[in-house]
């Protein structure tokens, strides 16, 4: 482990160049979407950064946060509202709700990345802007990760970055996206009796572009299980920033 890398890289942002993105679940008649150039945190946001944030904005401290904005597990691994206890300050911050993650990013002048932005950025391999989704090495990274069992995530930036200079896009934590629940809109209208929805028997496999892309399935399944107040031990985030204000 190299805490120096974590220290040097957390808080840095990198540029993600514009590109055509092929969504895993495309819209009808629209196989690709155009993603404009944007900036993004090089690593997931760390405990240390969130600590500074909640000191600055106490309404996001454990115990003070509105119940509407975060469930009971919010920052529950911390020793106190402003005390990390034994947590590694350079490990990714988890147990934050979507509301809290957003507030953090907005305080930095950014926001959470959209699903398209995140997926586009994370589809880069070490040397190409796309292809991680078809890359057996990326898949095995993810499978290894869940296979490691009940261990909290270690410090950020311990592996190699992808082409854009992004670390830990796969295999350390899950990450929040701005429109994580865009896939769930239909569930609010469940009584509508939409016959087409039944085509998703088979657990989403029918409409996905690549039924063998298990890593994407897992990511999309994970996102769709969340609500905006959800916090889980393996869910963190990083921020995205528009290029011109």
């Amino acid at each position: 482990m190299d805490p120096g890398a974590a220290l040097a890289l957390s808080g840095l942002t990198v540029l993600v160049p514009a590109g055509e993105h092929r969504p895993f679940y495309p819209s009808p008649g629209q196989e690709t979407v155009q993603v404009a150039t944007f900036a993004m945190d090089a690593t997931p946001v760390t405990h240390a950064e969130v600590l500074a944030f909640v000191r600055d904005q106490p309404q996001w401290q454990r115990g003070r946060v509105k119940r509407l904005f975060a469930d009971e597990r919010y920052l529950s691994s911390w020793a106190g509202p402003t005390d990390l206890g034994t947590l590694d300050p350079l490990a990714p911050a988890t147990e934050l709700s979507w509301h809290a993650a957003r507030a953090f990013c907005q305080a930095q002048g950014g926001d959470l990345p959209t699903v398209h932005q995140w997926e586009h950025a994370a589809d880069a391999t070490a040397d190409a802007p796309t292809g991680a989704r078809q890359d057996p090495a990326t898949l095995s990274l993810i499978l290894d990760w869940y296979g490691r069992g009940d261990t909290p995530p270690g410090p950020v930036a311990q592996g190699a970055p992808n082409l854009h200079g992004l670390y830990d896009t796969h295999g350390l934590i899950w990450e929040w996206t701005l429109d994580f629940n865009s896939l769930l809109i239909a569930s609010d209208a469940r009584e509508g009796g939409d016959q087409d929805r039944m085509r998703f028997c088979g657990a989403g496999a029918i409409s996905a572009i690549d039924p063998a892309d298990y890593a994407s399935f897992m990511r999309f399944a994970f996102r769709s299980s969340l609500k905006a107040d959800s916090t889980t031990r393996d869910l963190g985030f990083r921020c995205a920033y528009p290029l011109s204000p």
Binding site: R73, M198, A203, M218
Partner: protein, 502 residues
């Protein structure tokens, strides 16, 4: 480029069928329309105080509900992602309902209203849900129970149909959740209950796909490609090789009637479930209401079940297998039931006649060599050459299928006899192994084997002596001569298992 199947919707959902109209509180089970053929499906509203379902881990089965009216039953099932051995020295990250594979056994009565709580442990990395085949309704509960790590979902259903049903996780990628062990059984008793039996057990088969090959040690990750190719690394009962072997074998006594609740989680393979040495008196095939009698092997579909019943008549060890036999011998699909009690010789005699039958494995003229050795022995003494010649023929007919004609065995499966330190250390122990078999870990030339050698109790004392003398004379072994007298002593002191040879 990727293949691009037709796209149906702009909005995508990830757990199984999402058209479910129920909200947890909104369901009114009493109003359910009975559209099924099952007799008296809707038994009316639940009566009495709600009861908490007793959940058990395989091979245990909860006691009969003993109720003659429908009740409200509360089921709390916790999903956990746990690392456990799938074979000796091989670990795997299982995703479980209740901490074990298969998931906890749930037992309810037809007409019961079930309030189901699915809890996903905070340490889980994945969201999970449950699709119970006992549920009538879209997705079998899957959409209503989709649960993020550290959360709990609740939904309610009415059990309209009696039968033995599989439940499983239906979160995308669903095959992977099932391949990691997310399945179990729920028994919906008919209103009159099932006929009483002496023993009930829960056995569920599943296929597993690991990056490392069969029995390769260490923590083995899931191999997606092997799963897609349906090329299983392990096929096991109750979540691990050996889960029903040795002191974990199922138990019964002579004269008892045994009922097995058999499930098959898959995700891919269909099971040809068979108990070596038993005939199922009764099979509720596919876990339904009709029974078939006198069945040797019953097919258990992936995502399906069967209930089998049989009376055990003779003592001994009965081996449970998937009769797709390479799964039993090379992938782990093997369990045991130990039946205790007095001999029942009128039903199973044990060995009555013993004559040499060497069939095609034996060398031409083999019978002659064996006869020569016996004749010499009958005269009082046998020469080493005759012993070796007879032993060679018998070895070819009896041992070579496993230990190979050159005595080198098969790495990881059958230990070598050629140059075996274990063999050479103790000729009397070797005789004991031939007579009573060998079960459990053994280290041969520094490599561990953990398997089962069946007893070869059909061999006479002089045959065992000749085989071993031959083996000791070959392949760099240490030349011990084993006599029939020595074998007889070993046989006298060894407890001979009954009926174990198939």
């Amino acid at each position: 480029m990727l293949p691009s199947p037709r796209i149906f919707l702009s909005v995508v959902l990830l757990s199984a069928c999402q058209g479910e109209p129920a909200s947890p509180e909104g369901a009114d089970p009493a109003k359910s329309v009975v559209s099924k053929g099952s007799s008296g499906a809707d038994q009316g509203p639940p009566q009495g105080e709600p009861v908490r379902a007793i959940l058990t881990q395989a091979p245990a089965v909860p006691p009969p509900t003993g109720r003659n009216a429908p009740a409200k039953v509360i089921v709390e099932l916790e999903v956990r992602e746990v690392v456990k051995p799938i074979s000796e020295g091989v670990d795997y990250t299982f995703w479980t309902f209740g901490g074990d594979v298969p998931g906890s056994f749930i037992r309810i009565r037809q007409g019961d209203t079930v309030e189901f709580h699915l809890q996903n442990h905070p340490s889980s990395k994945m969201p999970h849900n449950i699709d119970l085949h006992a549920v009538t309704g879209p997705g079998g509960g899957a959409a209503s129970s989709f649960t993020a790590p550290g959360h709990e979902s609740q939904f309610t259903f009415k059990a309209l149909n009696a039968g033995l049903y599989v439940y499983h996780c239906a979160t995308a990628p669903v095959g992977m959740h099932v391949a990691n062990g997310m399945y179990g059984l729920i028994l919906v008793e008919p209103p009159e209950g099932l006929p009483p039996v002496d023993r009930e057990y829960y056995v569920m088969q599943g296929d597993f796909y690991t990056v490392g090959k069969y029995r390769e040690k260490g923590l083995q990750p899931f191999d997606m490609q092997k799963a897609i190719e349906e090329n299983a690394t392990y096929v096991v009962f109750n979540g691990a090789e050996g889960a029903l072997v040795g002191d974990k074998a199922l138990q019964a006594n002579v004269g008892e009637t045994v009922r097995l609740y058999i499930g098959n989680g898959g995700p891919n393979l269909v099971s040809s479930f068979h108990v070596i040495g038993e005939i199922f008196d009764k099979v509720y095939y596919e876990g339904g209401s009709k029974t078939q009698e006198n069945v040797q092997t019953t097919l258990v579909p992936a995502g399906g079940s069967a209930i089998v019943e049989y009376k055990v008549e003779a003592p001994g060890t009965y081996v449970l297998v998937d009769h797709s036999l390479f799964r039993a011998f090379n992938k782990g699909a093997l369990g045991m039931m130990k039946v205790d009690g007095g001999d029942a010789l009128e039903i199973y005699s044990g060995k009555e006649v013993d004559s040499v039958y060497l069939a095609d494995k034996a060398e031409p003229g083999a019978g002659q060599a064996v006869a020569q050795a016996s004749a010499e022995l009958a005269q009082g003494s046998v020469t080493l050459a005759s012993q070796v010649a007879a032993g060679q023929a018998l070895y070819a007919g009896t041992c070579s299928t496993c230990h190979q004609a050159d005595g080198k065995g098969l790495e990881g499966i059958f230990p070598p006899l050629a140059g075996s330190d274990f063999l050479n250390a103790d000729p009397l122990r070797a005789a004991g192994i031939v007579l009573t078999g060998l079960n459990g870990p053994v280290t041969v030339n520094g490599k561990e084997y953990n398997s089962v050698m069946p007893p070869m109790s059909q061999l006479n004392d002089d045959e065992v002596a000749n085989i071993l003398t031959y083996v000791y004379s070959q392949w760099g072994n240490q030349g011990h001569v084993v006599t029939a007298d020595q074998v007889a002593k070993v046989r006298a002191s060894a407890a001979m298992p009954q009926g174990a040879a198939h």
